[in-house]
Symmetry: C2
DNA sequence: TAGATTGTTAATCGATTAACAATC
DNA sequence: TAGATTGTTAATCGATTAACAATC
């Protein structure tokens, strides 16, 4: 909404977008701390800053991406991460011909150098974009390299120590939701 | 769980996966209709069938994908759709050199032929994988071609008539969630 | 000032949980 | 049969909503 030129955002506007009542929105906003507000609503910039701070996303993180297939390529070329200070610092793949090359300015390393590179580049998040068969072994390597979280695109339930956070990505539920809404329209 | 060899699934097991109580799981299951059950829990196959039927995803749908960039390619190569009877029947791109070629056995057409191809192939869902700048005009073409739903990967709020269902995909919230959990671990 | 919105309290509503007889 | 789980009712808990004084 801020990007679209809104300077003030009211609980009414948000409620409209999310299909909730303004009351609910205001109750929830109470958890965020004080936001610059007026009789026009909440100040857009102040609101975004408080949200980013609360969510802890303002500082971003350094990522390592493992597996340069079609999903990996899509992530490498996606510009949205950089804008939010999430930065892919290293790529890993097992194909010899890719090692030492650069994609979008990011170096490709062999998986054997994972621990070293992750430490040097202060990487805290590992992205698994390999086939399902390799995903668990990659997760093991990332854990051994002291990664804090894994963003997993492989369709498999990874086993990792409890201190490592896993976030799985699966597009099928979103497609199912669409199909369901079409059927019940 | 069924794929991993479970023949019987108890509300306890599901509760463990989802971090809820068995009571909540059983209350929710009541909405699905009768599922074959025993003192081991619910029959895995029966459960999946009832879920698929309730969600209306068992029959799948035919898709048209517009925009063969890195995201489009990842979707084309993803095998998970086919397994659930969701099938990409046609590709559209504005690059002349791609028209008439095939990718993974799927033909590439010019956007000008969208209405014709969508009708012929009985396509009900359009996938927008173009840059944000082209997304709205593609959506307009899809709507004109009588599409029922749009699976939108472009970072933009599409304007379509109310009878067309939109499902937006954005990976950033998932990455933000991971970053948040790491920060608050 | 007049109009609109926030911030907050209290009331309502619905979701979660506990408990247990019935079932396999 | 014995043990475990479902299916369901009733109780509890928390989220949503309404309402309105305070504020801009």
């Amino acid at each position: 909404m801020e990007a679209q030129g809104c300077r003030w955002i009211s609980s009414n506007m948000i409620a409209g977008y999310l299909d909730l009542t303004p009351s609910t929105i205001r109750q929830d906003i109470k958890y965020l701390g004080r936001i610059d507000s007026s009789s026009f609503g909440y100040n857009a910039g102040s609101f975004r800053l408080v949200l980013e701070k609360t969510l802890g996303i303002s500082s971003g993180a350094n990522l390592a991406l493992v597996g340069i297939g079609s999903i990996g390529s899509a992530l490498i070329h996606y510009k949205g991460f950089r804008e939010k200070n999430f930065c892919i610092k290293a790529l890993f793949d097992k194909r010899e011909e890719l090692i030492g090359t650069q994609i979008e300015g990011i170096g490709v390393f062999p998986v054997g150098r994972m621990a070293e590179v992750i430490k040097r580049e202060r990487i805290t998040i590992g992205v698994i974009a390999t086939p399902a068969e390799s995903a668990q072994s990659v997760a093991d390597l990332l854990v051994a390299a002291n990664i804090k979280g894994i963003w997993n695109f492989a369709p498999i339930n990874l086993r990792v120590p409890p201190q490592v956070i896993i976030e799985n990505v699966n597009l099928l539920p979103s497609l199912f939701t669409l199909a369901f809404k079409i059927k019940n329209a």
